[in-house]
C-alpha cells in the first residue's frame, strides 16, 4: 500500500488508475491511501468546465490541454458527462484529438459515469481530484453537463469555472438563467462560426451585466471555435489571468478551504449513510419500519426519528 501511494505521488499512471478504482469501490485500502496523499494536495489548478450536451466541451478541453502541454504543464481530465466523447462515444475528429492526448504521458484521462453511482458520484469525484492533484498534475480539468444538482455540487470545488454556451441552442441560455450563472468565472460562446453568434454573445453579456452590477470584476465572455482551434489562446490567457487574480486576492486559499470543506461534508455524509443502510446492525429494524410505513402504522418522519435515536449520542 505504501508502495501504491509513493507511485501515485510520482505520477505513475497505472497506480493512479488503480487508486481511483479502489476509491470508487469504497475499498478500505483507498481510505488509508487518501489519508496519506492529503499533505501532497492543494497545488493543482482545478478547472471546471460545464455546458449542455453538444456544446463542444470535449473538443475545447482537448485544445486547451494541448496548449497547457506546450507550456510544459501536466494535465488530469475527469469527464463526468456520461455522453462525453471521453467516455467512448467520440466522433472521428474527436477520436483523433483524444488518441493524441491518450498517448501523452503528461495527460491522465478518467471518465466517470453517473450511472449506478447514486449518491456516490460527488465523493468519488472529490477523491479523483485529490489523487490527480497529489500525483503532481499542474492542471485538473473536471467536465460536467452542468444541468443537475449533483453536477453543480461537483463543479463547486473548481478554482476556475468555465460555462460553455452555443449559438442557436436556446437551452444553454435558459440553463444559465436557471442558476448555472453564479458558478461561472468565464463564459465561452463556443461554435462561434454558427449563425446567431452575435446575438448569443449579446445575450450572455447582458446576463453578465445584470449579475455583475455593482461588482468590481466583470465576468469575461469569450468566443471560440474549438474544432478549428480558434480563440483557444485567448481563453487560456483568460484562465491564467483568473488564476493570478485568485492568488493575488487570497481567493485561491479561500477556494482551497472551500474544497476541503466540501470534501469533509461529503465523506461524513457517505460514511453515515453507509453506517445506517449497509451495516447489518440496522437492516432488520429498517426493514420492519418500512413495512410499518407501508401499512400506515407509522409515518416516515417518526420512523426516521426512531432510527436516529438509536445511532446518535
Amino acid at each position: 500500500m505504501k508502495d501504491l501511494v509513493s507511485k501515485v505521488l510520482k505520477g505513475d499512471p497505472h497506480s493512479i488508475a488503480r487508486l481511483i478504482t479502489l476509491a470508487e469501490n469504497n475499498d478500505p485500502v483507498a481510505t488509508s491511501a487518501m489519508k496519506d496523499i492529503h499533505p501532497h494536495t492543494g497545488s493543482a489548478h482545478v478547472i471546471g468546465i460545464t455546458g449542455v450536451m453538444g456544446s463542444g466541451k470535449s473538443t475545447l478541453i482537448c485544445e486547451l490541454t494541448r496548449l497547457f502541454r506546450k507550456q510544459g504543464k501536466t494535465v488530469g481530465i475527469i469527464a463526468i458527462d456520461p455522453t462525453s466523447p471521453f467516455s467512448g462515444g467520440a466522433l472521428l475528429g474527436d477520436r483523433v484529438r483524444m488518441t493524441e492526448l491518450a498517448m501523452d504521458d503528461g495527460v491522465f484521462i478518467r471518465s466517470m459515469g453517473t450511472h449506478g453511482m447514486l449518491g456516490g458520484l460527488t465523493s468519488a469525484v472529490y477523491d479523483v481530484v485529490e489523487i490527480l492533484d497529489a500525483s503532481g498534475k499542474d492542471v485538473v480539468i473536471v467536465e460536467t453537463v452542468g444541468v443537475g444538482q449533483a453536477e453543480v455540487d461537483v463543479i463547486k470545488i473548481a478554482d476556475t469555472t468555465l460555462v460553455i454556451v452555443v449559438p442557436g441552442l436556446g437551452d444553454s441560455i435558459q440553463t444559465l438563467k436557471a442558476g448555472i450563472m453564479e458558478i461561472a468565472d468565464i463564459y465561452v460562446v463556443n461554435k462561434a462560426d454558427r449563425p446567431g453568434v452575435e446575438q448569443t454573445v449579446a445575450e450572455v453579456e447582458s446576463l453578465v451585466d445584470i449579475s455583475c452590477s455593482g461588482k468590481e470584476k466583470k465576468i469575461p465572455v469569450l468566443s471560440t471555435v474549438a474544432k478549428q482551434n480558434k480563440g483557444i489562446d485567448e481563453l487560456l490567457k483568460e484562465i491564467d489571468k483568473h488564476k493570478k487574480h485568485l492568488e493575488k486576492t487570497k481567493e485561491f486559499e479561500k477556494q482551497r478551504r472551500l474544497r476541503y470543506e466540501a470534501e469533509l461534508v461529503e465523506i461524513i455524509r457517505k460514511r453515515l449513510m453507509n453506517f445506517i443502510f449497509d451495516e447489518s446492525t440496522f437492516k432488520d429494524k429498517i426493514e420492519s419500519l418500512i413495512n410499518q410505513i407501508s401499512k400506515k402504522q407509522v409515518d416516515p418522519y417518526t420512523a426516521a426519528e426512531e432510527i436516529l435515536g438509536k445511532i446518535l449520542k
Copy 2:
C-alpha cells in the same frame, strides 16, 4: 395546524401551497403536518416524465392533463426542470395551455427550482408528492430534465415513468444509452412531425430490444406530436395499461414500498446533515478541523472520523 392538515386533505389549493412552502423551508410545522398526512397517502398514481430540454415535456403534460380531467381525474403537477415553461419561461402556445390548466380547480401546479436547494431538492420533492397524494389528487406528474443524478433520484419514486426523446436531437438517444434507459416504462418519441422520426423510433426500438431481451414485457415506444394533440389518446391508454399491469402483478404495492423507503432514507440523510452542520454544537469543532485540513495537519478522512466519533453511539 390541525386546521391546515384537514384543509390539505380536503384539497384546498391555498393550504396545499402553504404546506409545500413550509416543507421547503424545513419548518417544524411541516414535519408535524407530514406525520399527520401520511395515513392518507398511497392512492395517487405517480407519473414521472423525463427528457432533455426542448423535448416538449411541458406541452405533453398539458395535453395529458387535459385528458385526465376529461376522465374526471384530478391532477397535481410538479415541474422540477428549472427551465420548464411551468416555471415561467413559457412560449405563447404553452402559456395558453397553462392558463387553461391554472384556471382549473382540479389541477394543482408547482414548479420547484434546483437552484439554491443543494442537497435538499430530493427530499422536498418527496414531500410535495406526499402532500399532493394526500390532498386527493388521482394523478401526480413529476417533470424533470432527467440528466443529472439528483433528477434520477427524484423520478425513481414514480409508479410509471415516461422517457421522452425527439427526432434530430442525437443527445436524447445518447442520454438513453447513458443510463436513463432502465428507468423507462414507456418511451415517447415526441415532435413526431419532424424529419427523421422513423430513424429515431427505430433507434429507440433497437435499444428496447437489447434491454428487454429475455424479459416477458417489452417497453412500448409511442409517437406523439403534443403541440397538435396527436397520439396523446394512445399514450394515455398505454399509461392506464401500465398502471393496471402494476396492480395486477402486485408491482404497485412493491413500488409504493420503494417510494416510502426512498423517503425514509432521504429524511434520515437530511436530518443527519442538518444535525451536524447546522447545529451550533459542532460549528467550532468543524471550523477548526477545516483549518487543520487546509494546513495539512490532518486529512479529511481522519477529520470525518473524529466528528463521527463524537455523534455516533
